[in-house]
C-alpha cells in the first residue's frame, strides 16, 4: 500500500523539505495556525453580522410582535454562529445607536432618570405568589434601558437562551443549538398548538400556504459558506486532530489459521490481565442466583 502524503507536507512542500523539520511538529503548528485562523474568520463574520443586525428591522414602523418574514429569516440566519456574549454585544451596539436591544424592534430604548439606579417593576395582574397580586422586581437602570418595553426584554432573552455556548469552531456538526431559533411568538404558538387538539379541518389552501414557508435550499452561496464554517469544513486540520492516524493492514504470517478451541487451562476462565480470579466458582453461583 503506498503511504499517503501527510496533509501538512502536502500543503506546504517548501517547509516540509527544509532539513530538520519534524513533520509531526509541523502538522501540530499548522493545526494551531488553522485554528487561530478559524477563530479570526469567525470573529470577522460575527462582527459583520452585528453590523447588519443593528440595521434591523427593515421598516421603521415594524411591529416587534408581528415582524416581517424576511426580517425574521435574516435574524435567524445571522444569529447562527453567535454565542451569548456576541448577542450581548449586538444589544450594546443597538443601544449605543439609541435603539431597542431586540433586533426586530424599531423603537428607541427606554431612557430612565440617570440619577435613579434601580426601579421597581410590577408584573401583570395575577403574577404574584399563589397567582394573586402582582410580581415585584427590582431592576438596575442599565438593564431597563436596554429595551423599549418589558415585552421586548422577554423576546430578546427568549432568543438568547437558545444560542450555543460553544464557539462555532468547537461545535459538533450535529449540534442543533443556534440553528433552529424560535421567536417568543413562535414558541408560544407552538406550545398552544401542542395543548390544543389539532383541528383536522385544515383546508388545502391553508396547507399550500404553509408549504410556501417551507423554503428548502433557498440557501445562497453565503449560507453554505456559513454551514461550512460552522462545521469546520474549511479547516481540515480541525477534523483530523493532532495525531495523524495511519491504518495499516496487519501482516499475516503464512500458514493456516485455526478456530480457537478450548484448552484445559481455559476452563476456569483464565487470567484477566495477569490476574487469575480465585472464586470463579462462587461467582458462577452468584450469577445463577441472580437469574
Amino acid at each position: 500500500m503506498p503511504s499517503p502524503d501527510r496533509p501538512a507536507a502536502a500543503s506546504s512542500p517548501a517547509l516540509a523539505q527544509r532539513p530538520g523539520t519534524d513533520p509531526r511538529h509541523l502538522a501540530i503548528a499548522l493545526h494551531h495556525a488553522q485554528q487561530i485562523q478559524a477563530q479570526k474568520d469567525t470573529q470577522t463574520l460575527i462582527l459583520d453580522r452585528i453590523l447588519e443586525l443593528i440595521e434591523l428591522p427593515s421598516s421603521p414602523t415594524a411591529d416587534p410582535a408581528t415582524p416581517a418574514a424576511a426580517d425574521v429569516a435574516a435574524l435567524k440566519s445571522a444569529l447562527r454562529p453567535f454565542q451569548p456574549a456576541d448577542y450581548d454585544n449586538l444589544i450594546l451596539e443597538r443601544n449605543i445607536e439609541g435603539r431597542c436591544g431586540y433586533a426586530l424592534c424599531p423603537r428607541e430604548h427606554r431612557k430612565e432618570d440617570p440619577r435613579v439606579r434601580f426601579r421597581i417593576v410590577w408584573g401583570a395582574k395575577g403574577s404574584g405568589a399563589g397567582g394573586r397580586g402582582r410580581e415585584m422586581d427590582i431592576v438596575p437602570r442599565e438593564k431597563l434601558e436596554m429595551w423599549c418595553s418589558s415585552e421586548c426584554a422577554e423576546r430578546a432573552m427568549y432568543i438568547r437562551v437558545q444560542l450555543a455556548e460553544e464557539p462555532v469552531w468547537e461545535r459538533r456538526a450535529d449540534d442543533r443549538r443556534g440553528r433552529q431559533i424560535l421567536l417568543l411568538e413562535e414558541g408560544r404558538a407552538a406550545s398552544n398548538d401542542h395543548h390544543r387538539q389539532r383541528q383536522p379541518s385544515a383546508s388545502v389552501k391553508d396547507v399550500l400556504g404553509q408549504l410556501d414557508n417551507l423554503n428548502l435550499a433557498t440557501g445562497s452561496a453565503s449560507d453554505s459558506a456559513d454551514l461550512a464554517l460552522e462545521r469546520g469544513d474549511v479547516h481540515p486540520a480541525l477534523h483530523g486532530g493532532r495525531v495523524e492516524v495511519q491504518i495499516r493492514e496487519k501482516q499475516v504470517a503464512a500458514g493456516s489459521t485455526r478456530a480457537p478451541e478450548l484448552r484445559p487451562e481455559d476452563r476456569m476462565g483464565g487470567a484477566i490481565e495477569g490476574y487469575v480470579p480465585r472464586d470463579t466458582q462462587d461467582q458462577d453461583q452468584d450469577m445463577l442466583d441472580l437469574l
Binding site: 470577522t44 462582527l47 452585528i50 454585544n89 449586538l90 451596539e93 443601544n95 449605543i96 445607536e97
Partner: protein, 236 residues
C-alpha cells in the same frame, strides 16, 4: 504653567486642563514614535490650547476640532523598512502618515463612531490612525477598529494619556530596533527571536510606542552597580 485663566467655570475648566495634558502627551507620543512634530506643538501652552479648542461662551472643549495628522521622519521610515530579501529586494517602509482624532461623544461609543473614523482613515489614505475617546468603547468597536485591511488603527482613552507613563522615573527607556539592528543582535548572540524574553503588544509602553508583533525593543535601565545596562524583548 498658566492657570490664571479668568473665564473658566469649575467643571468645564478642569476638563480643559485634563484635555490639554492629554493633547500634549499625544504629541510626545508621536514624537517618540518618530513622527514629524514641531517643538512648538509638543510644548503648547494651556492658553494657546484654550484659544484653539475652548468654546468661548460655555468654556467647554471642542473635541470635534481636535484632529492631528503627522508624517514619519526618515529615521522612522528606516526603522520600519524590512531587510531586502530575494523575494523583496527593494522593501518599502511599512509606515506612513498617521491620523489622530478625539471623539466628541461623552458616552456610548460603539461601531457607529468607529465606522465614521475608519471611513476618514480610509478615504484620506492614512497609513495609521489613533481614535481617542472619553469612555471605554464597545468590544465590537475595538474589533472593527483593528479590522481595516492594510491599515493600523489604535484606540486610547483620554485618561490613558493624561500623564506620559514613559516619563516616569521608574519606567526604563524603551527603544525600537530596526530590522538590521535586530538581525545583528540575533547574530551576535546566536539566538532565535523566539528565545528572547517577550513583551506583549498590550503592554502600556508597547501601546505607547505602537509596537508591532515581531519587533524587538531594547530596554535601557540604570543600575546602581553596573551603570546602564540593556536588555531586549521580542514583541508578541
Amino acid at each position: 504653567m498658566d492657570s490664571d485663566y479668568a473665564g473658566g467655570s469649575g467643571e468645564a475648566d478642569r476638563e480643559i486642563i485634563r484635555l490639554w495634558r492629554t493633547w500634549r502627551t499625544v504629541f510626545e507620543m508621536l514624537q517618540d514614535r518618530g513622527y514629524e512634530v514641531t517643538e512648538d506643538e509638543v510644548q503648547i501652552s494651556l492658553s494657546e490650547f484654550r484659544a484653539k479648542f475652548q468654546e468661548p461662551t460655555s468654556g467647554l472643549p471642542r473635541r470635534d476640532q481636535m484632529k492631528i495628522s503627522a508624517r514619519p521622519t526618515e529615521a522612522m521610515q528606516a526603522k520600519y523598512t524590512a531587510l531586502p530579501s530575494k523575494s523583496n529586494p527593494n522593501p518599502q517602509p511599512d509606515c506612513g502618515t498617521i491620523y489622530v482624532e478625539f471623539c466628541a461623544d461623552s458616552s456610548g461609543v460603539g461601531t457607529k463612531q468607529v465606522r465614521t473614523f475608519n471611513h476618514t482613515v480610509d478615504e484620506n489614505n492614512f497609513h495609521s490612525g489613533i481614535f481617542i475617546t472619553q469612555t471605554p468603547i464597545s468590544p465590537s468597536a475595538v474589533r472593527l477598529l483593528s479590522g481595516i485591511p492594510g491599515r493600523i488603527c489604535e484606540h486610547f482613552q483620554e485618561q490613558d494619556l493624561l500623564v506620559n507613563i514613559t516619563r516616569h522615573e521608574l519606567v526604563p527607556k524603551h527603544v525600537l530596533l530596526s530590522p538590521e539592528e535586530k538581525a545583528r543582535l540575533l547574530e551576535r548572540y546566536r539566538l532565535k527571536e523566539s528565545q528572547l524574553p517577550r513583551i506583549q503588544v498590550s503592554d502600556p509602553v508597547a501601546r505607547y510606542l505602537g509596537l508591532r508583533r515581531g519587533q524587538v525593543v531594547k530596554i535601557i535601565r540604570k543600575s546602581e552597580t553596573a551603570g546602564r545596562y540593556a536588555s531586549y524583548r521580542w514583541v508578541i
